[in-house]
């Protein structure tokens, strides 16, 4: 079947070769490298801090050389050659960004001690893992939201959690029927997550969960037990420091709890710390907004045009006279989900009316009032 091929962003690698090479890892630093590589799994490219460089070794070096256009060298120890490539510490964000945007996952290993103060090999450890859905560096993000989705299924019921770590947003919902499933797919369509986490045993059902072919989304299968209701509930109680997640409107043991718990755990795991900017779970309730599916969004050219997929001639381009990054993101959310409550719409349009009446002050707030003085 065509449906399930090409799912994984990462090409399977020849791990046998590396295992063999590792036998020969005699230097203490390389043993350190091998230990860290075991810890993160072979999917993840390891950037290892050595002096003023982050070094990549073996298969990581080969991928790095190809994708990043950096020089692949090799160190010859006895009869085997050990491939290696490096990037300067100063520009590491740039290189990491390039890999991550191509769907790779990257782990950063830093020196945990001051090298001046230690004799012998400096202790190194993984300080964070960077994936497309867990970026926080401004330079690597666009102005749009950067969502990561977590989906879990139990027979014909589904749980969804959606987070933008860079903004501290976290949403969740339960979907219990086929109609609801369509609703969930609609939400996935409009939020366009760049990374998808799911229970490892669902590997083969991804298109069903996702509602369409996986394109270039990064896929992160997680251990099944992370989605276990009790485990998940505990993770959430611990993270939000609450006695129960019922306060967020999520029923006990519900699938939304499972999806949320696993996602929080994944975020903590990548950041190697508490993601304390996520302070609450909001329920996803798109029934309060106009339903626009992906085809409509595309054909009405709301965000991209149908000629060259840029924003030229689109509604967002016309309306985006915002002056802050938050404003731009907010506007995108609004366009993707027009309101259906007359009261809520009037609140906005009445505000617009008052602002147009106080034109000078309004422009002063925006900081572009000089346009009107010319």
């Amino acid at each position: 079947m065509v449906l399930n091929s090409n799912i994984y962003t990462f090409k399977p690698r020849n791990t046998g070769q590396i295992a063999m090479d590792r036998e020969n890892l005699t230097s203490p630093m390389m043993r350190q490298w091998a230990r860290m590589k075991d810890e993160i799994g072979k999917d993840v490219i390891l950037f290892c801090r050595v002096g003023d460089f982050y070094e990549l070794f073996y298969e990581d070096a080969e991928i790095g050389a190809k994708v990043l256009d950096i020089t692949l060298t090799s160190r010859r120890i006895r009869d085997t050659s050990h491939p290696l490539a490096g990037v300067p510490v100063r520009s590491v964000d740039l290189y990491v960004g390039k890999l991550v945007n191509r769907g790779y996952k990257v782990a950063i290993a830093d020196q945990l001690e001051d090298p001046k103060a230690v004799k012998g090999v400096v202790e190194r450890g993984i300080t964070r893992i960077v994936t497309r859905g867990t970026i926080t560096e401004d330079a690597l993000l666009t102005e749009s939201n950067n969502y990561i989705a977590s989906i879990v299924r139990k027979r014909h019921s589904y749980g969804l959690a959606l987070a933008d770590l860079s903004c501290g947003e976290f949403y969740a919902q339960n979907y219990n029927s086929a109609d609801d499933l369509e609703e969930m797919h609609f939400i996935l369509d409009s939020s366009q997550p760049v990374e998808l986490v799911f229970s490892d045993s669902e590997r083969n059902n991804l298109t069903e969960l996702w509602g369409k072919e996986i394109e270039n989304e990064t896929l992160s299968p997680l251990p099944d037990f992370w989605f276990d209701p009790k485990e998940a509930e505990e993770t959430l109680q611990d993270h939000f420091d609450v006695k129960s997640t019922k306060g967020y409107g999520l029923p006990d043991q519900s699938l939304a709890v499972c999806a949320s718990g696993a996602l929080i755990r994944y975020l903590q795991d990548t950041q190697k710390r508490k993601v304390s900017n996520i302070t609450k779970i909001q329920l996803l309730e798109s029934k309060h907004s106009m339903h626009l599916d992906r085809g409509v969004i595309k054909s009405l050219e709301l965000f991209t045009n149908t000629v060259d997929n840029t924003d030229e001639g689109t509604l967002i381009k016309l309306l985006n006279k915002t002056v802050t990054a938050m404003g731009t993101r907010e506007l995108k959310k609004w366009i993707g989900a027009p309101l259906t409550s007359i009261e809520e719409i009037s609140n906005r349009s009445n505000t617009v009316e008052i602002l147009t009446e106080s034109e000078l002050i309004a422009n002063h707030i925006r900081g572009r009032w000089n346009i009107y003085l010319i």
Partner: protein, 557 residues
Amino acid sequence: MEHISDLERLGTRISLGVSKPSEIVRLLDSLKALPSIRGSLEQIEEENQLPINFLEKITNCADIVDFIEKMILAEPAVSVADGEVIASGVNSKLDELRGILRDGEDWIDSYIDREKKKTGITSYKIKQNRHLGYFIEISKSNVSKVPETYVTKQSMVNVVRYITDELKDWEYNILNAEIEIKQIERSLYESFLNDLSKHVDRMQQVSKGIAELDVLLAFSYIALTNDYVKPELNSSTKLDLKGVRHPVIENFSGEYVPNDILLDKESQRLLIITGPNFSGKSSLLRAVALNVIMAQIGSFIPCNSAKIGIIDRIFTRIGASDNLIAGQSTFMVEMLDDANLVNNSTARSLIIADELGRGTSTYDGLAIAWAIAEYLHNSEAQPLTMIATHFHQLAELEGFLESAKNFHFKIGFDGEKPLFDHRIFPGSSDKSFGVEVAKLAGIPTEIILRARFILSILEGQKSSINEEDGEEKISNQVKDSDELKQIIGTIDDWFKDDFDPNSKVVVQSKQKKPKTKGKTPEEIEVLATIRNLTINSITPLKALEILQNLSSLLNTE
């Protein structure tokens, strides 16, 4: 406000403890802009109470500003490792160590002065490198004057390098101070970020307020520059747009011609807009949808006046060529869209269908367009529907359907060159707009061939009932097919001038009856499944699923 940085993301990086000092400076600048924004908002509220309480979200944050200014230097280094970050007065030990460093430089000057006097060496220099640390450099000509307490470290061509106990003691203190300063700064910065992260909640709230205000300010700016009006939203099922313009296109074309559009569930829920290509059908349709969206996100809209009954879902069926997805035929894409809008339209839906039935041959297309238009009009949901088509024949629906109404675009000619009016008129375009129709029917034999082919299949099905076993459904289909034949007969009439009787022979010879002989059991099953499908009640996803099942059925060897 334009100087306000991305507070949401700054907040995130603070709570993750990864903010750089430069980001803290940006945060500070942003927070400092808040009082002036609040001032302006208060000024506005003196005259009009704003329906959205921005002042509640955009709080002053003066305490955070004070805290940052107290803790961090006005122009901190890029990172703690690169230089000074923490302000003076925060930690007395830090201040003391920084004092030692500063005094250290004075000490070198005074040491040089003292040693010069003592030894009489004029070319007395103190330098520093990675290898030796601090050292004294004396030119070869002065070596004889060097005291015995000096220890020779390196002899170069022109100079000799020395160290002294006094210099090394001093160096030791300086280096220790530097290391200690870094340690203290690092831990102070960490605890600073930790303290600051307690305010992240509030910063996110400010950020939310700024975001909303920013969008609404943008709306008011656009409303003023583009001459928009405030739409009236109500709970009716009418869409009454006077002088509606396409928000994007009106900025590109010199003279834009506005149009009036009225959709009303009771009396006028299906608009059939005819006219040749390029007359403005598509942009009118899109204009209506975009105006509805803009109105319901709270913006003003490009109309002279507008009354909008809330829409809860918009469907589009827009020119198949726009939606080409690799691997799917245009017809398949179109059918998926059609199935979607037929199956899922709600009582408050707005349906925009441009060139319904375009993805296939003209004849099929017209039949499909006709059927879908009819279905939508008669469906329980009764969605508001606008159909643009260059099948002027579709306008005849007005006669069959009570709430359908025709509009058309006119076209004039300046010699050979067509002149487009872009204004919409009631009624349908008459057949004398033959240019387009002629183009459509440009390959008349093909159309007729196709029509004949369909008919022959329908007849073939009738005769196949006796041969096929277990095909109960077909008798129903035959009933339907009689009706269909009537419609197709009508359609046939429109094209009868182009009909070439000779083609009939060819078609007949092409006709194939369903056969079971020579087929594998799988193939028979696949055929049976297809025959039993009720296309209208199948969702696009389901259709793909079925297709997948069928193909796997055929491919399992």
